[in-house]
């Protein structure tokens, strides 16, 4: 049953507001006792600078394929019922949700581990870039140095 109910594609890019309740409902299964979820919110600061807002840009076709592959990897590696991730593109304001990851599983260990794996790997590997606007008038693309904790390919 769970295989049939899994989303064909576990990842989507959206240019409209994310709705956590609808996303969450898609992962409900009677055999799921645990649900772990991660949301990335637009912070008002980054590296000590006040942030006014930001924009996400993606290499759309590739981001959709790589994102779906990351979610498939999580489904294969962890004993979970289902998993899903959506990522915003376009302009976002402070407090907006940039990314949502949800995982349902029979037990909480697998739900947490898969959720963490997905967000870590999305951040490492999916071609999406953040452009921040700062209170001091400056703006720029973020091209972070590799995070040593990130899961590498």
């Amino acid at each position: 049953m769970s295989m049939r109910m899994q989303h064909e594609r576990g990842f989507a890019l959206l240019d409209t507001t994310l709705d956590p309740m609808r996303l969450r409902e898609q992962l409900q299964h009677d055999r799921a006792g645990a649900f772990a979820c991660f949301e990335g919110w637009v912070r008002d600061h980054n590296d000590g600078r006040a942030v006014l807002g930001l924009r996400y840009e993606a290499y759309r076709g590739m981001a959709e394929r790589e994102g779906a592959r990351v979610v498939e990897e999580a489904r294969a590696r962890f004993d979970i019922c289902d998993a899903h991730c959506v990522h915003r593109v376009g302009d976002l304001a402070i407090g907006d949700m940039a990314v949502w990851v949800g995982v349902s599983a029979a037990h909480r260990g697998a739900a947490f581990d898969a959720c963490r794996y997905i967000i870590d790997t999305i951040k490492d590997r999916v071609p999406i870039w953040k452009h921040e606007r700062y209170a001091d008038g400056d703006a720029g693309w973020l091209h972070p140095a590799a995070d040593p904790r990130a899961v590498t390919r």
Partner: protein, 80 residues
């Protein structure tokens, strides 16, 4: 000479001034192709900080340049 379709994203696009272009190149592999475009557009990011994708999938820098491909230089990503 091969003709390829190049895609630029984020700071590379800002530096190139275009998000895509068709170029003819004698570069034997993808690393040489980046060096060529880096010199032409003045890209600040060294090759070591980039990844490269061919037709929407990650590729190795030592792969040959094939005519008709879509090639994207991928600056460090910052989604999530």
């Amino acid at each position: 000479m091969n003709e390829v379709h190049l895609l630029y994203f984020a700071s590379l696009r800002d530096a190139a001034g275009v998000d895509a272009e068709r170029v003819r190149t004698a570069a034997p592999d993808l690393a040489a192709l980046y060096a060529e475009q880096q010199a032409r557009h003045g890209f600040a990011l060294p090759l070591a900080r980039l990844r490269v994708a061919v037709d929407g999938a990650f590729a190795r820098w030592d792969e040959p340049v094939r005519s008709g491909c879509e090639i994207a230089f991928i600056p460090p990503v910052s989604g999530g």
